[in-house]
């Protein structure tokens, strides 16, 4: 496997654009109390296509931009997205990458887990958070909107990254014994 120098640059550019679009446009779209999270969608696509290292790195970078642009507590979004990126990357590397449903499953699970994680993290940091508002009011429409946008964002990411290197098939995990 050869390393393409352009690839990290492309990933960084993709994440940067997604983060800027998220803080300026998508977070202001309110549909049934929720809004799409294109940063998470882009991160899922990158992690599935390029693996856990890229996923973790892109997650950290995306979180850093989002927190910087919003003047929020630095590191909070980075922590959540780093874990999400790594986990989805591992899923892609082992079984999920070449399965049609993988992006959808990853997006749904990542959206729910990131939301739960953020709730816990903000609670630990002493923010007054409402579990009802976060989990009952905002989460269902967010999952639905993210699932709606999964295919276009995944296709766009695949096209953008595919210019550098064709996607490798996942190494199947075989159970021994």
């Amino acid at each position: 496997m050869s390393f393409n120098v352009l690839e990290p640059v492309k990933v960084a550019l993709l994440v940067f654009v997604a983060a800027i679009l998220q803080v300026t446009i998508f977070s202001q779209i309110d549909i049934l109390g929720g809004y799409p999270d294109v940063v998470l969608l882009t991160l899922v696509a990158i992690a599935l296509l390029r693996g856990s290292i890229y996923g973790a790195g892109a997650g950290f970078f995306a979180g850093l931009i989002v927190d910087t642009a919003n003047l929020a507590t630095l590191g909070v979004t980075s922590l959540l997205l780093t874990i999400a990126g790594y986990w989805i990357g591992r899923y892609g590397e082992t079984t999920g990458r070449d399965r049609g449903h993988a992006p959808f499953v990853s997006v749904a699970v990542a959206t729910i887990l990131v939301q739960f994680g953020a709730l816990i993290l903000h609670y630990l940091l002493g923010d007054a958070v409402s579990a009802k508002a976060v989990l009952l009011d905002a989460l269902p429409p967010k999952v639905a909107l993210n699932l709606l946008l999964t295919l276009p964002v995944y296709a766009l990411t695949r096209w953008f990254l595919g210019l550098a290197r064709p996607v490798e098939a996942a190494t199947e995990v075989r159970l021994l014994g």
């Binding site: 940067f16 800027i20 679009l21 998220q22 803080v23 300026t24 446009i25 998508f26 977070s27 202001q28 309110d30 109390g33 809004y35 999270d37 940063v39 973790a56 950290f60 979180g63 931009i65 989002v66 927190d67 910087t68 642009a69 919003n70 003047l71 929020a72 507590t73 630095l74 590191g75 909070v76 980075s78 922590l79 780093t82 874990i83 790594y86 953020a118 709730l119 903000h122 940091l125 923010d127 007054a128 958070v129 409402s130 009802k132 508002a133 976060v134 009011d137 905002a138």
Partner: protein
């Protein structure tokens, strides 16, 4: 992951003038042109959507607003006379009062550049900062009423915590009954509650709620008296409650903020 934890710890523990805050402030300034660019690209699409969305409700809203206009026109004339009398009496008495809204404030009009992408903190980013004279805790309004207050300031941007944030309470007063209480976030998105109103006081549905603007010794409210907040949309009390349980429908549409005014006290610029 470790780096994220280190960032959280250092950021959380250091003061607002700390190194990491400074780096973040510089980063926010660097990101600002990109945000401005994205916002300008999105503006035509957002305006088109807003135009069509507005059309749907325009007819029913028009009839309601015409009826409201007739009532308010009469009230406005009475209020203008009363305000003139109050000003005249203040001058005669050489009355020393708190800063008044809007006379004693300068406005810094600015665009809303970003919205915090989470349900955990109701905050927006604005495109003006300390270079425009903005400081932490400056009140933020729109033509409709109170939006919130400035919570963080960078050179050319600032963070505004909205009234719908769980960490923001504003002392408020019912202009009709003079009942006082605290306005804070409500149960649903873009809803507010009016709490700590004694049951001995009177609250009626439809009453207008504005900022109270109190002063006790050296302490004073961050908000001047009279910034509109909303109307009482429901108020109940029971035998077991110590206070009224009231909901307030805000005048400001927190979901569609595109530009705001930051109130900078005129006294700040005086020696």
């Amino acid at each position: 992951m470790l780096l994220s934890l280190v960032l959280i710890t250092v950021y959380f523990r250091e003061s607002a003038s700390g190194g990491l805050h400074g780096v973040q402030s510089t980063g926010a300034t660097v990101l600002r042109p990109f945000e401005v660019g994205a916002d300008r690209i999105a503006a035509p699409f957002r305006d088109t959507y807003g135009w069509f969305a507005g059309l749907i409700h325009a007819k029913s809203e028009n009839a309601r607003l015409r009826a409201q206009l007739d009532t308010l026109r009469a009230e406005a004339i009475q209020n203008a006379n009363a305000a003139q009398q109050v000003d005249e009496l203040r001058r005669q008495l050489k009355y020393v009062g708190l800063p008044r809204f809007p006379q004693d404030y300068n406005y810094v009009p600015t665009d809303v550049m970003s919205r915090s992408p989470s349900e955990f903190q109701q905050q927006v980013g604005i495109a003006a900062g300390s270079s425009s004279g903005i400081r932490v805790n400056d009140p933020v309004v729109t033509a409709d009423g109170l939006v919130g207050k400035v919570s963080k300031v960078a050179g050319h941007s600032a963070q505004v915590t909205l009234l719908t944030d769980a960490n923001l309470d504003v002392s408020a007063i019912d202009v009709h009954s003079q009942a006082t209480g605290l306005v804070s976030h409500g149960e649903g998105p873009s809803t507010l509650t009016l709490d700590r109103v004694q049951k001995s006081q009177v609250l009626r549905e439809g009453d207008t709620v504005v900022t109270q603007g109190w002063k006790v010794g050296p302490l004073s409210s961050l908000y001047p008296y009279g910034i509109p907040i909303g109307t009482v949309s429901g108020a109940t009390n029971s035998e077991v409650d110590l206070y009224w349980n009231a909901q307030v429908a805000p005048f400001v549409h927190f979901d569609s903020l595109h530009s705001v005014l930051v109130l900078v006290p005129k006294r700040r610029n005086q020696p």
